[in-house]
Symmetry: D2
Amino acid sequence: MMAQFDQLGCQSRRLENSFKLTRVGITGLVKPVVVHRRGEDHHLTAEIDVFVDLPSTQRGSHMSRNVEVITEMIEDSLKKKVESLEHLAANICKMLLDRHDYATYAEVRMTADYFLERRTTSGKRSVEPYKLMAKATSNRGNGLMKQVGVQVMGMTACPCAMETVAHELHMDKPELKKIRAKVPMISHNQRNKTTLMVEVPEHVEVEADDLIDIVESSQSSPTYGILKRSDEAAVVLRAHKNPKFVEDVVRDILGKLLKEYKKLDDSVHITVRSESEESIHKHNAFAERITTLGELRK
Amino acid sequence: MMAQFDQLGCQSRRLENSFKLTRVGITGLVKPVVVHRRGEDHHLTAEIDVFVDLPSTQRGSHMSRNVEVITEMIEDSLKKKVESLEHLAANICKMLLDRHDYATYAEVRMTADYFLERRTTSGKRSVEPYKLMAKATSNRGNGLMKQVGVQVMGMTACPCAMETVAHELHMDKPELKKIRAKVPMISHNQRNKTTLMVEVPEHVEVEADDLIDIVESSQSSPTYGILKRSDEAAVVLRAHKNPKFVEDVVRDILGKLLKEYKKLDDSVHITVRSESEESIHKHNAFAERITTLGELRK
Amino acid sequence: MMAQFDQLGCQSRRLENSFKLTRVGITGLVKPVVVHRRGEDHHLTAEIDVFVDLPSTQRGSHMSRNVEVITEMIEDSLKKKVESLEHLAANICKMLLDRHDYATYAEVRMTADYFLERRTTSGKRSVEPYKLMAKATSNRGNGLMKQVGVQVMGMTACPCAMETVAHELHMDKPELKKIRAKVPMISHNQRNKTTLMVEVPEHVEVEADDLIDIVESSQSSPTYGILKRSDEAAVVLRAHKNPKFVEDVVRDILGKLLKEYKKLDDSVHITVRSESEESIHKHNAFAERITTLGELRK
Amino acid sequence: MMAQFDQLGCQSRRLENSFKLTRVGITGLVKPVVVHRRGEDHHLTAEIDVFVDLPSTQRGSHMSRNVEVITEMIEDSLKKKVESLEHLAANICKMLLDRHDYATYAEVRMTADYFLERRTTSGKRSVEPYKLMAKATSNRGNGLMKQVGVQVMGMTACPCAMETVAHELHMDKPELKKIRAKVPMISHNQRNKTTLMVEVPEHVEVEADDLIDIVESSQSSPTYGILKRSDEAAVVLRAHKNPKFVEDVVRDILGKLLKEYKKLDDSVHITVRSESEESIHKHNAFAERITTLGELRK
């Protein structure tokens, strides 16, 4: 180690009979970024992970290049108004392959809190938080895949408990039909957190706001920061008229994806994950589908 | 620094014109411990923080003594069957003052997942998780205070949404009284996490299991890992017949404490905190009372 | 509950022989906010908790007013360019007392990631993340206290391990003085997270950026996202020439506060907390001082 | 929904033109378990996730069966002394396929804090925490795969900073060779968290304790709860004589796996992940290899 100083650092040292590595990079970097989405600047606090692979012949990856690339691409995005977190991730991903010439693969993950204005039943405006989960991956020479991902917190009411309560209370009699049509039976309801990720080639556009709409309309009800009394009743009523298992949430999202994205290729990757923080249990209920649009279309 | 080596380490170095410190110690130590509670061994994975104060004249606290004391007291507790996490915390706390002769104050905090067997309405056994939050503090020469603390996850159903839904649906008419007496109106319900901490002098005994009972019976309903269909209906029904704000949960606990602990002194410190993970919002509802039994008795 | 519908909600119901509550409110609300600091807009993603107290005669706090107040004050701050998170917290706090006429106390807590530009030894710019921790509390009729709080991640190198290593290797001999003056002895070093909170009356100004400077200059070395090779050596060298226990970090901050804030009143509250994620242990080292400027000046 | 009550619950309802789901189940269940490892009972607090797939024709998975299966298998393991978390996961996995007759796939994940006795250089005993990460998966009719996984916290010292510091300080001169051979150059060092997971067919045994040994001996140094002064110097010295990038940690583990597990089949899956909480940065360094023994042997 004392012999002589290598300007490139001991990362560059050559190895023999060693192993290549799948992903080498940095995790947990926090940066302010701005995306210009639908005519509006969104200032986000992004958490960023980036990786490249490493050949068996090189001791270390040049870690400091990762932060340089991220910093440059963020600065660049301020000037050129990047339109989404995915585009920014894609720009970083391509530049990583440029700067790490020994790498054959690059990957970028960015997550951030994100806000959209919503209106409650009574028309009150409420700025609601969502999560963006962007990803870009590239195998050198084989183009770039980008993932548009969102996480939405909403509400689910259990369809099964409703039936069981009705049965236990002898409320499933025909003469009570009229009342039950008007007022749903009680059930357990809870926070539901659903993630939808769509992976497409670089130049195919999928809008994160649309994915948020698809998820939010597939839970039993959206939820809001501000709810006046009648709004609160409306949310509770909507959730109980629309009871859903996590399985239902996932399938309804899959159905909407098929309808909304007819033009997207069969090869497009889809991940849907729904988790309900069950109010009657201390553990969560979970459902997931990982698939391609082609599989879903069969 | 090179002058000469101090067997006691540079922590012992004398300072002039410096500041005393309120708490110096270690956080996040994880240890397996065993408490012998009501005839049964409970094997817990405890997370431990310990602190002593430091006079203005001494540079550093002897940090390694903290882990030594904890390790010895845990080993000692295995031989002598310590009966609670609080007793173990108290033993560590006293030994800290012994070993840090420069300290006038010592504090120990221990938290651990803890399990109790419960029975659902239909009689099914379910081992439910709780959290123990033990604490011991001692000012040298002034005895020792120990805190018996528990955290219980249960369920709350909102009393207000019920009323509003009934009103909006014109279900608050007298002729519907009979049906409404039988079947509660829908509402939002959710996970509720409530903490109860009672601080007493060393030799006053307060049983954590009793505190868990008090909290669990003050939420709208307990929750269970295993629920068969009729049990699920029973939990949902119980919660809706027993709707509670977080404010109600805290006050009901305070009322029960007054009843159950008539013999405890006025000076006993009480902290009750209840947080509901509102299913209709993305944020939580929170209520708290920090007080003494004397204050409550007024 | 069926009797009649109360426009104000069942929160307003009167209680007898009940208990007052110390803090009732909401936790975990996430909102985008903008502060205009030193001529620059900082877009922050804030996590917000707000509370008021509740008299023994009223069943529930009007929770929805909390989110209304927060939303209005954030919108107001966009128009009037609020200059800090503390000012925004203060505005929310005062408005909470306005809207909850039954309350005698209000409290607001806001935390957010925050970014400042730094320069490494070689002059490279690096945008570094910090945390702001603002708080405002008010007892009706008794003015308002605001807390300016910051959390800074930096590095500490252990002074004690250096000495012990030197001793063990017989490097504490006089003839090695020259080399040791140039090259510090090896030690363990690690991430250090230090929090500084200063609580002052509403109209006294304390700048969070100054607090960040005080903390950052009191750790063994600041840390940076981007470090070229010579910068990395400079950081390592600086940390080892400046070895510190967590106790040293806290005391150095206290000393600087005394120097920098001579004009502040004796009653000003100070909290300093420093935690090192010890590289040689799996647990952390911790030091804290909670005091007033008056106490420190004695 | 009112029509008639279905004893099996509305989960059993038949769907048409719907989608199958990849994984449906529960997450975050916390249970006390006991494993009988090398003649000793280890009492663990396990966090458990279990999943099965769901055909497109069935509305919901029978969620309560999951907790029943877990509970039964844990009770069974107490009687029969299960020898590892992986064996328990395997037993639960097989029973899940038994009880969910509509499922073709089952998956079980269990993680737990786990403790082993270690000795420091000076011979002091220290009970150190590790994490076990067990997994079992089974495709009906195709046997069962189990994953033996461990997470170990240790220490890394950076080899590159050492060289750069030496260079910057002109310490890389030949005449200083003797001193540098004795006392390593300063560097940054930090906590390193490394995960090793080996996936093998059900009846192939891989001992988690051995995997822990492999990881712990591949970091720059193990770390300990208790360190007397000379032990502390020994750990610091060992780490600096053994400087490692995260890349080195991963590769050294891969090399040891090849040596230690010559008898294991080429198809055995290996995942190694190493993350260093860089003391000079606020973000982490990360390296990973996901592969098979066959790939590594090439």
